[in-house]
Amino acid sequence: MDEIKVGMADLATAKPPQVLVTTGLGSCVGVCLLDPLVKVGGLAHIMLPDSTQARDVQNKAKYADTAIKILIDEMVNLGAIKRRMVAKIAGGAQMFNFSGNNSIMKIGERNVEAVITNLNIWGIPILAQDTGGNYGRTIYFYPENGQLYIRTIKYGEKIV
């Protein structure tokens, strides 16, 4: 199996038999895109919701809005077509439970909202979503069949 590791605030594309992997998603969101016809897949490990709120955008793969756009472009370069693309997303947990109701702490929730909004803007349907909770996730995305395998420490594993 040919694994392509995607680090925090990073993105990558792949074709079968390659598999896209990102480990330890907390409040970050893993966005998996696939053109099922040509089997071109992509994975972005998004950290923050909105590049327009940042003071200095050095890494566009960090933000939901810019990362999804770049991922689509890179997949199109490999022969994918945007209107055929489908998405699966995972992550967006809240790792720390703070007292009080501080919206800054709900970064996971805001990341998920931003990812959904941006996928809607591009007209890409979300086929599966495993988000929220208070636990970390490691994900494997298979461009071969579009399966997303999710592993956790506390709650076992599943395929969506």
């Binding site: 907390g26 923050l48 947990a93 720390f96 970064i107 490691t138 506390k154």
Partner: protein, 207 residues
């Protein structure tokens, strides 16, 4: 500026504060537990965040993380991380109890104990830092998570700011008789805070 541009003098100053803080913390822990706890700081180093996950044994590795934010003229965040083996020994030293292998939830008492240690450590380092800088530091109550290192560190990185991708790491070794635990204490200054801190320490880049 970022952390990679620190010179030896600046690193020494921060390490010295780490040592004084460790001394304060050892005293506080010994008093709280009514037994002799030693603490030392073998190493202080600066790391890009991606490598921070690696020294924790990888992004999927189970760790406990105590996190708090500090308000002051030089705002910062603090994260205290214990790997799985260390959590067991640490809870044994603190409470005389053991976390079994494959046990991923902590009881209230263990959570409180780890939060309290985070609190004591943070307080000790901040007191040391304050005695040199006269900046007044006000820490929040710590929050605690037990999960994948990458998930916890990623969350902290999101919370503490959007600019700096580096962390100051104070390696902390605790020992009680033959039991020894190594943890990592991360000091995460918000953008601009490091300049203020180093300036107050008399080792700023502008004299």
């Amino acid at each position: 500026m970022d952390f990679t541009k620190l010179n030896d003098l600046q690193k020494d100053a921060l390490k010295e504060i780490g040592n004084i803080g460790a001394g304060n913390a050892a005293t506080a822990l010994s008093t709280m537990l009514n037994k002799k706890i030693n603490m030392s700081v073998p190493n202080v180093f600066i790391l890009p965040f991606a490598q921070v996950v690696e020294i924790m044994g990888g992004a999927e590795n189970l760790v406990a993380g105590g996190y708090l934010q500090v308000t002051s003229k030089a705002p910062l965040s603090i994260l205290f991380v214990l790997p799985e083996d260390s959590i067991r020994i640490f809870l044994n030293i603190l409470l005389g109890k053991s976390l079994e292998e494959g046990q991923f939830e902590l009881d209230e008492m263990s959570i409180s104990a780890l939060k309290e240690v985070t609190n004591i450590l943070a307080g000790s380092y901040l007191t040391a830092l304050n005695s040199f800088t006269k900046l007044e530091f006000t820490p929040t109550v710590p929050a605690l998570a037990l999960d994948m290192a990458g998930a916890i560190l990623g969350n902290v990185l999101q919370l503490y700011g959007e600019v700096s991708d580096y962390a100051l790491v104070i390696e902390s070794v605790f020992s009680e008789e033959e039991k020894e635990v190594k943890g990592h204490f991360f000091l995460l200054p918000e953008p601009g805070s490091l300049e203020i801190l180093l300036g107050k320490l008399g080792v700023g880049n502008n004299g």
